[in-house]
């Protein structure tokens, strides 16, 4: 028998959703994913050649500039039939923006920020704004970092008033949960407010 563990019972087919966790290098994205994921964060990679082309012919590949984009991701099974995946974009790799399909169909995103290097979050904020993807800015409160009032962070990032901004500790499960809840609530407000919604 080629395939073991046969079963006559078909497994349930869950609805799957994804939330992206973006931000600068070392800001704690994988930490946040790991804090709420039921599995140790896994790594997946995609090799991209040319800008934004997901499918490519390998002919002549030896002459192309290629970029390997890696994502750490985790999984939260909310119910048997509802699974949420969290994808953390590695901060040292500025090219994750090329992997457009990662953001397609995303329920929302977290932009994790460090007040000592707020400028590292600009690109992610800009990206999600342009694509109309609901996002929450979560300021990871590192020990030793100055605590800026939330409003000054909002001003520095030039956020729309509707964008949720909160302080968090990416290591803490409860804190990470609240960040994710904020993203989904923001998405809900968006769906309820202006977009025609679809039935899955």
């Amino acid at each position: 028998m080629v395939f073991g563990r046969s079963s006559s019972r078909r497994p349930v087919e869950p609805v799957t959703l994804k939330i992206l966790v973006a931000g600068g290098f070392g800001v704690g994205k994988t930490t946040l994913v790991g804090a709420v994921s039921e599995i140790k964060p896994l790594r997946t990679e995609e090799t991209l050649s040319e800008v934004g082309r997901p499918v490519d012919n390998t002919a002549g590949v030896e002459n192309k500039t290629t970029t390997t984009v890696a994502m750490d991701f985790g999984r939260i099974t909310l119910r048997d039939d509802l699974v949420l995946y969290l994808f953390g974009t590695p901060g040292q790799d500025r090219f994750w923006f090329l992997w457009d399909e990662l953001a397609q169909g995303a329920l929302g995103a977290v932009v994790l920020a460090d007040t000592r290097r707020l400028e590292d979050s600009f690109a992610a904020v800009d990206y999600f704004e342009r694509r109309g993807i609901p996002f929450t800015v979560a300021v990871n409160c590192f020990e030793g970092a100055d605590r800026f009032p939330a409003e000054s962070v909002r001003g520095a990032l030039d956020l729309d008033s509707e964008v949720p901004l909160l302080l968090c500790d990416a290591r803490e499960r409860e804190s990470a949960k609240m960040v994710l809840v904020s993203v989904v609530e923001h998405a809900l407000a968006r769906v309820g407010g202006q977009r025609p919604h679809v039935t899955t």
Binding site: F3, T16, F87, E101, L188, V191
Partner: protein, 134 residues
């Protein structure tokens, strides 16, 4: 001339450090970088085994990687991302392999919420409730 000798003498002749990882995984797909069936297999699209996958003695052309995918998905549906991590292969390679299995009717792939659309309000509420209850 052995390959390693060749590399040592002409480090940039065939592969550079970037091209190497591209070429080898795609050898597993016999050079194919897309599959007729893949449409848009999202990272979180789930691969679910078909009843035919329970029965032995079919397609002898399956590679060990194909077999591993069917085995993993036979235990529980797996997302494309999870398969890529489990097999330690780039996502693009996994898509081609899964496309082969779809063609052989050993698996099917679920479609997540279409791009540029948000899921239903009731699903979002369930996600919020589910997260709070964790």
């Amino acid at each position: 001339m052995s390959e390693s000798t060749h590399h040592a003498q002409h480090p940039h002749h065939f592969f550079d450090a970037d091209a190497g990882p591209v070429v080898r995984p795609y050898a597993m797909t016999r050079g194919r970088t897309s599959s007729v069936n893949q449409h848009r297999m999202d990272l979180i699209a789930l691969v679910v085994t078909e009843p035919a996958a329970d029965h032995p003695g079919r397609d002898q052309s399956l590679s060990p990687e194909h077999v591993e995918i069917v085995e993993l998905c036979g235990q529980a549906p797996q997302s494309i991302a999870e398969l890529a991590a489990a097999l330690d292969l780039p996502v693009g390679v996994v898509r081609v392999l899964v496309g082969d299995l779809v063609e052989d009717e050993l698996v099917h792939v679920t479609r997540p919420v279409p791009p540029a659309e948000l899921p239903d309000v009731s699903i979002l509420r369930e996600v919020i409730d589910g997260l709070r209850a964790l």
